[in-house]
């Protein structure tokens, strides 16, 4: 098993060694299948790795194990009927998925959503972002071997799921948003409980930092691992925390503000390390920023009264035309492209899922790294296969 870089293959000696290795010793790279059943491919991702020792020569990403034909299904459902399906895209941040879909339909129909509903939506979307990032941090740390972070993160995620349950009745696949607003107003006690969460979350987030932020082993496992430059990231179409970890200022909430994001005060988290550690820092900061947004929404919601549903027709029949609307989902840019023929069902619905584009970066990231880095890389780009395969 010759290590790459030890011997220059261009030189005569290198060629001789290469010849001896390949022809007389019959060395060849080992192909291993990582997934679809593997503890850290986060669902049903399958990677085919070509290894020289533990070094990766080539990677192929195989997807499709969770394909449900969502886009085709949409053509057979009315607009409101398709909403629950969007929950099942990125099933750990369903509010954000709902958000993207309802925005697209509203844009197509020109519906003005009441202000209170806007704030509720933004708040729920940001809570979802925190919960999604918490799940990411939990599993990412678990993959790298820091098992305790896992349960610490789940402890706080539980509080968010409780809030989701209060608001929409469901914890995971919420379907709380509606075309024109949200299903119903927030229940009594929600604001107090959400405030309590915002109060304790920064303290709890410090726990995660204490465990791994400056840990030598964590640093050596993440810094300069699975690098992808800003330019490469742009070319591959990366979005969300992954591209912000490569130093690119790109956040749809700032660049093409939707809903009420332009009225709120928060910062984009951008780090230019381009590596696993930078992506980790981005998400950590985003969680704190999201927490800030939630408290601001709560401040407004305490005073602001009004309807949470716009006047929408009983049967939703958008005019003929096409529309693209995108939101900054926890994983990146989530877009819905809808073509309407004027009937109650979409003529064509295309979903631009962030994880799909992010996943493409894996072969670029891991080339020349070791098996353990593949795990770190998959963890750091935060894929959810429900969204990749649709």
């Amino acid at each position: 098993m010759m290590e790459k870089g030890l011997m220059d293959k261009g030189s005569v000696e290198g060629q001789v060694v290469d010849y001896l290795m390949r022809e007389t010793l019959k060395t060849r790279e080992m192909w291993i299948n990582m997934g679809p059943q593997h503890p850290s491919t986060h669902g049903v991702l399958r990677l085919i790795l070509a290894l020289e020792g533990e070094r990766i020569v080539d990677t192929e990403v195989v997807i499709g194990y969770l394909h449900r034909g969502m886009e085709k299904l949409a053509e057979a459902k009315t607009y409101p009927q398709f909403l629950p399906y969007t929950d099942r895209l990125d099933y750990i941040s369903s509010h954000a998925m709902n958000f993207g879909y309802v925005l697209a339909v509203e844009k197509l129909m020109g519906i003005e959503v009441p202000d209170r509903a806007q704030y509720i939506r933004v708040m729920m979307a940001e809570l979802t972002r925190i919960s999604s990032h918490l799940l990411w941090l939990a599993t990412h740390a678990l993959d790298i071997g820091a098992m305790t972070v896992f349960l610490y993160c789940f402890r706080e995620r539980e509080m968010i799921l409780d809030l989701c349950e209060m608001a929409g009745g469901a914890r995971l696949t919420t379907s709380y948003f509606r075309i024109g607003g949200v299903a119903h107003d927030l229940p009594d006690g929600f604001i107090e409980q959400a405030r309590e969460f915002c109060r304790i979350f920064p303290k709890k987030a410090k726990d995660y930092d204490d465990l791994i932020l400056k840990n030598r082993i964590w640093l050596s496992r993440t810094v300069n691992v699975a690098k992808i430059s800003g330019e490469e990231a742009l070319n591959l179409g990366l979005t969300g925390p992954n591209i912000r970890g490569s130093g690119v200022y790109w956040d749809i909430r700032k660049d093409e503000p939707y809903s009420n994001y332009d009225k709120l005060d928060w910062e984009i988290a951008v780090y230019d390390g381009c590596d696993v550690y930078a992506r980790y820092l981005v998400r950590l900061k985003e969680m704190r920023e999201s927490c800030k947004i939630v408290s601001q929404c709560l401040d407004v919601l305490e005073k602001l009264d009004g309807p949470v549903m716009a006047k929408v027709p009983k049967v939703i029949k958008p005019p003929e035309g096409e529309v693209y609307a995108s939101v900054e989902a926890p994983k990146g840019e989530l877009g819905f492209y809808i073509v309407s023929d004027g009937s109650p069902k979409p003529y064509r619905l295309k979903i631009k899922a962030p994880s799909f584009a992010n996943l493409i970066s894996i072969p670029t990231m891991v080339k020349g790294h070791m098996v353990a880095d593949v795990i770190a890389a998959i963890g750091s780009i935060d894929v959810v296969l429900g969204e990749v395969d649709r």
Partner: protein, 334 residues
């Protein structure tokens, strides 16, 4: 003569029972400690506070279907789990756990056998445990276990060396390979005071030898599924675990003997407490430390582990030996 044999047999039996008790409750301790570190309770339903959990685990594993990988090398495949637990059982024979006692007019040493090369013997038998992992990994004829086996071979060879070198300082100070002599030497002051660096290096190398986090690369479950024991099930799988916890117990016991004063009490006014109790208390403390490490740290990467071993620990261990020698020459022994 016959009495002597009976005495040895009884000592062996007791030690073996105690070791197995430690193994069984080591698994429970692992789950309880991890539970409390992670803000949860751990096993709670088998008996009071989950105290019967090891029994339940054992029964469950015993009744599991024993699956043999079809393409495996049968002899090595069956041999590996057996080897896993043997080194620990071999090693307990030389570990002293108390001062000699007099029973029915006979002087009985609280050690099965006090051989004059006890430490060499310990190193020799403990290096057996690598065979369990290498055989397990290679004979399964499966790719993930193979990677686990590869990693462990490299890891064990590197850390075995460092383990041996870290002990050298102690041997130089005491001037004997016998564990009983080493413990006697620490009657007034623990060895960890004279050899702090050696103690740290020993603990790191021991953790690596035990495949515990942050060095659990051969079985890194998030990378290699189960590592070398991926293809094992039922009691064969359990044997690897028995071996792991037995090795942990023995390694902790050796650490207590070498660095933490063996069976002597740390302060003189507590010396009325019998030696074996002190020994167990210290052993449990070291054992807990190993558990604590596992639930706190992330995992090293394979190449970083090797770099850490050869570039940092090895020179440090050598420096420790040189410094010990220098001090001994300058001051004519400590």
């Amino acid at each position: 003569m016959i009495v002597a044999i009976i005495v040895v047999a009884v000592k062996l039996l007791i030690l073996f029972a105690v070791l197995m008790l430690f193994v069984a409750y080591g698994t429970l301790a692992e789950r309880k400690v991890s539970g409390h570190i992670q803000d949860r309770l751990g096993p709670y339903h088998c008996g009071p506070h989950g105290l019967l959990q090891p029994l339940a685990d054992g029964l469950k594993l015993f009744f599991k279907e024993d699956i043999v990988a079809a393409e495996s090398d049968k002899i090595l495949y069956y041999l590996a789990p057996m080897i896993a637990i043997v080194p620990a059982i071999l090693a307990i024979g030389v570990i002293p756990f108390g001062e000699s006692i007099t029973l029915f007019g006979r002087k009985i040493d609280l050690v099965v056998t006090d051989i004059n090369v006890a430490l060499l013997y310990l190193l020799a038998v403990s290096s057996f445990s690598v065979y369990a992992i290498v055989f397990g990994g290679w004979s399964s004829n499966s790719k993930y276990p193979l990677l686990g086996g590869l990693r462990s071979a490299a890891q064990f060879i590197s850390y075995e060396l460092i383990l041996g070198l870290s002990i050298m300082g102690v041997i130089m100070v005491v001037g004997s390979f016998s564990l009983v002599d080493i413990v006697h030497y620490q009657k007034s002051m623990w060895m960890v005071v004279y050899q702090p660096l050696a103690f740290i290096i020993y603990m790191i190398a021991a953790t690596a030898e035990l495949n515990r986090l942050p060095f659990d690369l051969p079985e890194a479950e998030s990378e290699l599924v189960g590592g070398y024991h991926t293809e094992y099930s039922s009691m064969k799988f359990a044997m690897f675990f028995l071996g792991e916890y037995a090795n942990m117990t023995v390694t902790s016991a050796v650490a207590v003997c070498l660095f933490l004063g063996g069976w002597y009490s740390p302060v003189s006014f507590l010396s009325w407490i019998p030696g074996p109790i002190w020994f167990v208390v210290k052993l449990v403390a070291v054992f807990f430390f190993l558990l604590w490490l596992r639930w706190t740290y992330p995992r090293f990467r394979y190449d970083q582990l090797m770099v850490f071993s050869w570039k940092y620990l090895l020179p440090l261990a050598l420096v420790n030996i040189l410094a010990t020698g220098g001090v001994m020459i300058l001051f004519g022994g400590i």
